[in-house]
Chain length 253, copies 2
Amino acid sequence: ANGAMGNALWAGVRLKDILDGAGVKPGAVQVRFTGLDQALGPEAPRFVKSLDLDHARDGEVMIAYAMNGAQLPLLNGFPLRLVVPGWFSTYWIKMLDDIEILDQPDTNFWMKTAYKIPDTPGADMKPGQTGVPMVPISKMVPRSFLTNHRSGETVAAGAPLLVRGIAFGGDCGVERVDISTDGGKTWISTELGKDEGKYGFRQWQASLTPEPGKFSVMVRCTNENGLAQPGTANWNPGGYMRNVIESTDLVAA
Amino acid sequence: ANGAMGNALWAGVRLKDILDGAGVKPGAVQVRFTGLDQALGPEAPRFVKSLDLDHARDGEVMIAYAMNGAQLPLLNGFPLRLVVPGWFSTYWIKMLDDIEILDQPDTNFWMKTAYKIPDTPGADMKPGQTGVPMVPISKMVPRSFLTNHRSGETVAAGAPLLVRGIAFGGDCGVERVDISTDGGKTWISTELGKDEGKYGFRQWQASLTPEPGKFSVMVRCTNENGLAQPGTANWNPGGYMRNVIESTDLVAA
């Protein structure tokens, strides 16, 4: 239900240093990256993504050769992979084999047609709605999850219950993770685990003591830019940027 | 509404050392303490309380000469005051001037008639109920309070709100302080402040983010013996040992 998420430690070379070393001429506007990923059908265009030049030179975008202290596995993009911290992984080109400087904004399929979101608050629109301006997806948004209990689980009533999980801020660090047991009327802050850097998952935990009966634990991350997960889910054709607050229904007995 | 509470640092001499120094003969059962407090009416008996010998010799009961690093003020019992940690202050005889060893349990007015509680769970009985066995009040029970907001106060919606207060365990330390915003259905632990010893007040705090509307914060202390404040108030003729969970009604706007 929640797609794939990962949290790894990357080692590599700053793209900025490579671009500075190669030299970028005046008039450059974007940097295009091509990978060796092969499409399954013959019609599909080769996988190519571009970043604005300033973003490519921000000192954070890197060409990674290692993940968690080991050489990149094939499935993770051996031998080299573009890492674009805080942005959705469509930009994280695996098996990177070409870097090109563009003097015009890229209009290839993967930039102009695919991976587009409504240019609306929360990337939200209505099913069937037309005339909504679309823009390429970019920054990730905050999310959080309760991971040590499943919905429907029965727990002990009248005893402290540890609830814990993970959160990430998206394009910046986790400011706070709050839980609610009253359906979102009030939110109570949780204890945050070790800060592994602004793009890393962060653990959170709290201790609850439930009285007998059903209860529901909602968990909400607010990132360091003050952006919090929304109470209602957004909608767009690609299902992108969905980060509605998750809820876990438990029974205390 | 909540009577008088205090939290002070006492300095004095262990009663045990005094009793050991004086010598206690076989057959002794209680120790009686008399203070110089004068009753307002001529009929009132002089203020006298007794402790069982084992309690008097527990090494914690003390004769204090100083409070918070200074000589005892007159109102606090100058020059000497009995300090009985964890017990209600009816035993904390001010202006102590006599210590007597008894070979029979004390039956004076302040032990046999006054300061009695129902010998029932939570010292609870019904108004008008008869035939309830009564015993002298002894150990204190856990209590907790939200102190930085008043009921009826309006606070900012959608912004973190610090709630904090004090708690005490009664006859032992504070194990945990929980708050509830869903009427006591679920309780969420708060962060405890410095542990000043098992009889000291302990600060607690939590951060809430309320959505617009009314909400209520309940606070509950559980002591190290596993005793928690009750959800409903007890009743007895003296109003003793009332430690029902307190609730603060706020409005977020």
